[in-house]
């Protein structure tokens, strides 16, 4: 969910503006753990964090409170976040060696791994797509900056109904979906050719390294 976080941050601020209450994660702890156990037999520990979600070892860290207009909305958000994180535990390698990569490449690899995990998860559990697609809200109206393009690409990789006109987003989709979209790109090691190809962003301004650093997925 790394690449989705800034958009999600926008979403969170919008929800918070309309929310009159928040829901504590701990009130959903037991159903959340049982939910994850049914999906992939993973049994991660759940813990609170100021921000999240993120994974450390076998522990999924989620925000302690979720601003939400209602408990059902909070439950849906926590499910989506926890399922995405648990998907990494089920499908991602334990350690992804990102040494020697710059922040842009790391952000890209994180985005691609997020998308790969979600693609595999949706193949096994098609209902998860309904849970995740609404969290990807980037559109061309967000602009063509680095951060916005990454979020637009992330949306393009999960939402088959989203048609982004930007050539770079379209290139990313072509690289990601292989073999007539029956398979997805899996980068087990940083592959300079693939990453450099995709990292060749159109010149829109000074490289936004701070934005890339914010978006670095949990590559550890």
């Amino acid at each position: 969910m790394g690449a989705a976080m800034p958009s999600e941050g926008l979403t969170m601020r919008a929800v918070a503006a309309n929310a009159t209450a928040s829901v504590a994660r701990r009130t959903l702890h037991e159903p959340l753990q049982r939910y994850l156990r049914t999906l992939w037999s993973v049994v991660p520990a759940l813990d609170d964090a100021e921000q999240g979600p993120f994974i450390v070892g076998q522990t999924i860290h989620l925000p302690a409170h979720r601003p939400a207009a209602d408990r059902a909305g909070a439950w849906r958000w926590y499910r989506a976040s926890a399922a995405h994180a648990a998907g990494h535990l089920a499908y991602s390698p334990p350690v992804f060696d990102g040494r020697g990569l710059g922040p842009i490449a790391r952000a890209l690899l994180g985005l691609l791994e997020d998308a790969r995990v979600e693609a595999l998860a949706c193949r096994e559990l098609p209902g998860l797509r309904r849970l995740w697609v609404p969290l990807h809200t980037a559109t061309p109206l967000d602009g063509d900056g680095f951060e916005a393009l990454l979020l637009r690409l992330a949306r393009g990789l999960i939402d088959s109904g989203y048609d982004d006109p930007h050539p770079w987003v379209q290139k990313g989709r072509r690289l990601f979906f292989v073999e007539a979209e029956t398979q997805v790109l899996a980068l087990r090691r940083p592959e300079p050719a693939a990453v450099d190809d995709l990292a060749a962003l159109p010149r829109v301004g000074p490289p936004d390294r701070q934005a890339a650093a914010r978006l670095v997925c949990r590559v550890r």
Binding site: E30, P31, L32, Q33, R34, Y35, R37, T38, L39, S41, W75, R79, A83, L125, P126, G127, L128, R130, L131
Partner: protein, 265 residues
């Protein structure tokens, strides 16, 4: 005049999908009239297996659903009083022993221990049943065999060792997903793809065994979900009715299963 126990004969082959060589094993035990104990989770096919074997061996099948109120006379028989006086009525165990049927005591551990001990003389080399109420010593028909079943588990009664050790045992488990899919498709009438989806969800419920559920969905429950789909319900409605709401009343567990159902389809 109808032959005894004709009403207990199984006319058509009950569908049964073997998981291993249990058919061969049971046939070998029956050839020597060895008493059989079938154990396994509820709804995994033990009773269907007994029905299939009774049909296969062409024996009548007398079934008793054991419970805590079952007394020895319920198995053996009792004197009845009617307009013509008193008459003896054989119980199901006596009927089977007298006329050569297979007697199946389902959920045998649910019966009290002082009831189940009446089967002891039938389960060793004596093969006899004392009917003290009518001063009769019944020697079992050569074709008589005894089969019992129960569901092992932490909340299940223990069977007395003196009873248990009189039996040979077959352990049953939930079938593999491939076999279970074939069973659900055949028994419910849904297509194989739909049956596979139901089985996949059933597998997910079993991951909560010991974590909110005593047992996950049984094969029987999955067949019922398939039957509801065949009747026109959506997969989600069928699985909610036959599996989620049938498995638990606990809010947290139900919430997790409902979410898993949403993720599955």
């Amino acid at each position: 005049m109808a032959l005894p126990l004709e009403a207990w004969r199984i006319a058509a082959e009950p569908y049964y999908q073997p998981a291993g060589n249990e058919v061969t094993l049971f046939e070998a035990a029956y050839a020597r009239r060895l008493p059989m104990l079938l154990k396994g989770p509820t709804g995994c096919g033990k009773t269907r297996f007994v029905e299939h074997m009774a049909w296969r061996l062409q024996r009548p099948l007398v079934t008793v659903a054991c419970n805590d109120d079952l007394g020895a006379s319920d198995l053996v028989g009792r004197w009845l009083l009617d307009a013509e006086g008193t008459r003896w009525q054989d119980g199901p165990l006596t009927l089977a022993a007298r006329f050569g049927a297979i007697c199946y005591l389902d959920e045998v551990v649910e019966a009290r221990a002082d009831t189940t001990v009446v089967i002891h003389p039938l389960t060793d080399t004596r093969r006899m049943l004392p009917l003290s109420a009518r001063n009769e010593l019944l020697r079992a028909h050569p074709d008589f065999a005894l089969v019992v079943s129960y569901n092992p588990g932490p909340s299940t009664r223990e069977m007395k060792a003196s009873t248990r050790q009189r039996f040979c045992a077959l352990a049953f488990n939930t079938p593999s997903p491939e076999i279970e899919t074939a069973i659900v498709a055949r028994e419910s009438g849904v297509e194989v793809g739909c049956a596979a989806d139901i089985v996949a969800f059933g597998v997910r419920t079993r991951r909560l065994q010991g974590h909110g559920l005593d047992d996950g969905a049984s094969t029987r429950m999955l067949v019922r979900a398939g039957a509801l789909v065949a009747q026109g319900l959506s997969l989600r409605d069928a699985c909610r009715m036959a599996l989620v709401d049938a498995l638990t009343d606990d809010d947290g567990t139900r919430q997790a299963l409902e979410a898993a159902l949403d993720a599955s389809f």
